[in-house]
Amino acid sequence: MRIFQGVDIVEISKFKKVFLNNDSFVSDIFSEKEREYCLSKKDPYIHFAGRFAAKEASLKALGTGMSGTGIDRMFKEIEIIPGASGKPVLSFSGWAKKISGKKGINQFTVSISHSENHAVATVILTGRDTV
């Protein structure tokens, strides 16, 4: 079995600034379900920031990094929505799914936590050996 891990921390005040300064940020980065979920919360930014951290942690676990020279759509292709038990569930589509398929990844777990000004997330992906 192969294990891929990623962790990320987001400063919520900084995240909120970027979020509010750029009109298309929310729809470029978050899926409709994610937006619906976060906006239903009392303080949506904490939840958006936590999800952003989880997306970034996923990119680290996937080993793709981000594209840098554009607005990376992979952020949106990595979706974190609450499962039946309320625990967040991670899923990939598009290019993110393609990369995870190449690496033989078949299990995805995510955990998110936050304090007043920081959101943190860890992602663990496991897959079969390719060799």
């Binding site: 970027v18 020279t69 554009g70 607005i71 759509r73 393609k98």
Partner: protein
């Protein structure tokens, strides 16, 4: 011939402004060869912020999909990234043609996640210039060729007042890949 009215120097100035505002970096420390990750500690949120600022400053739409993804879309699964997440030789060949001197450390067998650190100020400027260079000769709204630049980054039609329309970053990458493939037959 390009009808672009915005100079590379102007794009570089605007990028420096965005970096200073986003990262509180010292303007004088930003040079064309500066790596945003290695030299000024940019993280993904900073890249997003910087790229959005450039989109707003010039009225452009940058790519949403990475060039490697476009390569696989056009030339098939495995064309750009192998099963270990490493860049194929052909992908490196293409990236070298695209970024050349602006990303001197590209090497076959690199991991995908080593690429972002290669992104320099100049490679971002190049990406913006490519989009600006797509300005057509004539205004699509009125058919006149009378583009005029305000003193900032926006271009308008001097005849009907419409904003300049540029090809978006993703379509440009696709056009470019098609052209390179025709010329060099890499895949």
């Amino acid at each position: 011939m390009s009808h672009n009215l915005i100079t590379e120097e102007k794009v570089f100035q605007e990028l420096k402004k965005a970096i200073v505002e986003t990262l509180r970096a010292d303007e004088n420390s930003i040079r064309p060869g500066t790596s945003l990750i290695n030299d000024i500690g940019a993280e993904s949120l900073d890249f997003l912020d910087i790229n959005y600022r450039l989109e707003q400053a010039f009225g452009i739409k940058m790519a949403r999909h990475f060039v490697l993804e476009h390569i696989e879309e056009m030339f098939g699964e495995g064309a750009a990234i192998d099963e270990n997440g490493l860049l194929t030789e052909k992908a490196i060949e293409l990236l070298k043609i695209r970024f050349g001197d602006n990303m001197p450390d590209l090497k076959p067998g690199m991991d995908m996640d080593e690429v972002p650190a290669l992104v320099t100020a100049q490679s971002i400027v190049q990406g913006v210039m490519d989009i600006l260079d797509s300005l057509p000769e004539k205004c699509p709204a009125c058919g006149n060729s009378a583009w005029k630049s305000d003193d900032g980054g926006k271009v308008k039609c001097g005849s009907c007042g419409e904003n300049a329309v540029y090809t978006n970053g993703d379509d440009l990458i696709k056009e470019w890949l098609t052209k390179v493939q025709e010329e060099k037959n890499i895949f």
